[in-house]
């Protein structure tokens, strides 16, 4: 058997061992830091072995084994789960309910209004990161690829921040702060230093 295949098998086994160790650690009555650490270490080792086997391809394949075993454990847990008792929750007063509905409506409007702004700010961050990468001596392919990756990641993080902030002023301050790099990237053109 070739070396890459052996390494891939090792990576798959380590990924499954990591999941099994974590399950054992988290199923105990008390905490077991050693077992938890061993589980995470096995998952890290699986990534290394997968990477040595076939780079990103090896890591991707090995992770499927870990997730697959976790799925099997979950199905087993579902099979063993005893029938539960109905849980009674207190009814909310009408006014409290209305407040909750208004909060959801408010946040939905925040999502819709800041969503587009967040995208523009994220594109600005992508543009700025590309400029910085080129200034830092990166190759053009690496810089462009980084920019294309930055845009969705930044947008997801901005959406998270906007929706977790309670006040509009804080949201606008956040948006303004994150918009600065994009504006800075356009500064040479705006100031006439560059065509």
């Amino acid at each position: 058997m070739e070396a890459w295949a052996l390494l891939l098998i090792l990576a798959a086994l380590l990924a499954m061992a990591g999941v099994a160790l974590l399950r054992a650690a988290w199923s105990r009555a008390g905490r077991s830091p050693a077992m938890t650490a061993a589980g995470w270490a096995a998952l890290a080792a699986a990534s290394v072995a997968g990477g040595l086997s076939g780079g990103a391809w090896g890591i991707a394949v090995a992770s499927l084994f870990g997730m697959g075993l976790a799925g099997a454990f979950l199905l087993d847990a579902a099979r063993r789960a005893p029938a539960g008792k109905p849980v009674r929750q207190p009814r909310e007063a009408g006014r409290a309910r209305e407040r909750a509905d208004r909060r959801i409506l408010h946040r939905s409007l925040v999502f819709l209004t800041t969503g587009l702004g967040g995208l523009l700010v994220s594109i600005g961050l992508g543009i700025a990161s590309r400029g910085l990468a080129i200034l830092g001596g990166w190759e053009e392919a690496d810089a462009n690829s980084l920019a294309l990756l930055i845009v969705p990641v930044a947008w997801a993080i901005l959406l998270t921040i906007f929706l977790m902030q309670e006040r509009s002023r804080a949201r606008f301050a956040t948006m303004g702060a994150f918009a600065l790099p994009g504006l800075a990237a356009y500064a040479p053109i705006l100031l006439g230093w560059q065509a």
Binding site: V61, G71, Q89, R97, R107, N144, L146, W155, A156
Partner: protein, 451 residues
């Protein structure tokens, strides 16, 4: 640090994001899961097309010449694509600007390609059947929202890893469905992040590239992609003989025996500016392939560097396979279907948790809940209905002389199901009917196609 200070707003953000995006995210997750078998669906749509392991270089050249000769009286095609047999779709297919045909192992044209349903499914997942730029950007935005849902989900559940195997599946009062939502979420986390991130990168690349082009390339979007996938060449419309791809195929076979050719692209064929790109997939890599560049006579000129160029090129070339799961044969595809179903269930149960929580607090919304059920069960039912119609009436549907696209049938049908479910909430057993009809319809469609 007081965890409550971030947990409560985290949960509120998670709920809001879920409520705003659930409908489209559910359709995207489900259609993406079905689309993992894109090649297999195409094969099922046209079971009598000629199949082969690999056509000979001379057969491919003959096929290209035949197809180009058949278009002598038409406007010249700008690109000619040859799809090579793969494990999932062992067929050779030639596509030009105006036609797509299957060819046999000798290079003779066998029949037109008929895969309208698979193309509909692809367009549904890729751009929700909307015009290209709007659709792909919206789907990319949903990918970013999914990423935000994952982040807020982790923030909102501080014990999510500690409770990763605690599944009270049969508990009532919303505990069971919440546990399923959280456990599936945590254990498909690497998959969910990979799918959301790659989907968002693919979907938002166009608008991001517009921004980069505007700032750094004087508005030339192609120049943004040139360092990643290679530059476009200058056109020269002067007439020229047919391109010869046979030497290119022999070159790959002799020099890269482990690489599997997946596509040949002849750019501006039969013009002086023509050139040939051969895409070949190396083994055990996430990249979709390497671009091998040849001139019109089939002489090797170089590679684009997707397999061994800068990391940025390799990363960009890996995004597609990581998203669509076509890097490890049928086994990886089956894993993607399983995890894709998990993502679909997470989306569906997210809404169920919200409805359940409100119902237990005394807010009953039977019509809204029935409409959601209509969407959850109506989406697979409509996909199956369009597939049954494809099996019954062929590649193109006509009603009173007008073409009926599958996209129109799917969206109008789904809207009718959702409205019908809301209108008959608590009355007609529409949900049970849809649940029963979907698998029956799927089996019936396969039987019809085989017969």
């Amino acid at each position: 640090m007081n965890l409550k200070r971030i947990v409560k707003p985290g949960l509120a953000a998670h709920t809001t994001l879920g409520l705003v995006t659930a409908v489209l995210l559910y359709i995207i997750c489900l259609s993406g899961t079905v689309l993992v078998l894109y090649e297999e669906w195409q094969r099922a749509e046209q079971p009598n097309a000629p199949e082969m392991a690999a056509p000979s270089p001379d057969a491919v050249q003959r096929a290209i010449e035949t197809v180009l000769a058949s278009e002598a009286d038409s406007p010249p095609t700008t690109h000619l694509y040859v799809h090579f047999p793969t494990e999932g779709l062992p067929r050779t297919t030639i596509t030009t600007d105006s036609q797509a045909v299957h060819v046999d192992a000798d290079g003779a044209v066998a029949m037109p390609e008929e895969n309208a349903w698979s193309e509909f499914l692809y367009a549904l997942h890729y751009r929700l059947n909307l015009p290209a730029l709007w659709g792909i950007t919206l789907v990319g935005a949903l990918g970013a929202a999914m990423l935000a849902l994952i982040i807020t989900g982790i923030i909102a559940h501080p014990r999510i890893f500690r409770d990763a195997f605690r599944l009270r599946a049969r508990d009532k009062g919303g505990v069971g469905v919440t546990d399923w939502h959280n456990r599936l979420g945590v254990w498909t986390l690497p998959f969910g992040i990979a799918i959301a991130l790659t989907g968002a990168v693919i979907g938002l690349a166009t608008v991001a590239a517009y921004g980069l082009a505007d700032r750094y390339y004087e508005g030339d979007v192609a120049a943004v992609y040139a360092p990643l996938f290679g530059p476009e060449r200058a056109e020269d419309p002067a007439p020229a003989p047919m391109p010869n791809v046979a030497p290119a195929l022999r070159y790959i076979k002799d020099n890269y025996p482990e690489h599997r050719p997946t596509y040949i692209i002849a750019h501006d064929p039969m013009t002086a500016g023509q050139h040939v790109q051969l895409i070949a997939a190396p083994p055990r890599r996430l990249i979709f392939g390497e671009y091998f560049l040849f001139d019109a006579e089939g002489d090797f000129e170089g590679t684009a560097g997707l397999s061994d160029g800068p990391l940025g090129q390799q990363t960009s070339a890996s995004v597609y396979s990581l998203h669509f799961g076509d890097y490890g044969g049928l086994a990886v595809k089956l894993a993607y279907i399983l995890f894709g179903l998990a993502l679909t269930v997470i989306t569906a149960t997210g809404m169920s948790i919200w409805f359940g929580k409100r119902a237990r607090r005394g807010v009953h919304e039977p019509r809204l809940r029935a409409a959601w059920d209509g969407l959850v069960w109506g989406t697979p039912a409509m996909l199956v209905l369009t597939f049954v119609l494809r099996a019954l009436f062929g590649n193109e549907l006509f009603l009173a002389g007008f073409a009926l696209p599958f996209a129109a049938i799917f969206w109008i049908g789904l809207l009718a199901v959702v409205c019908g479910a809301a209108a008959s909430a608590g009355g007609v057993r529409l949900k049970a009917g849809l649940q029963a009809a979907t698998p029956i319809g799927l089996v019936a469609a396969f039987v019809l196609l085989l017969v």
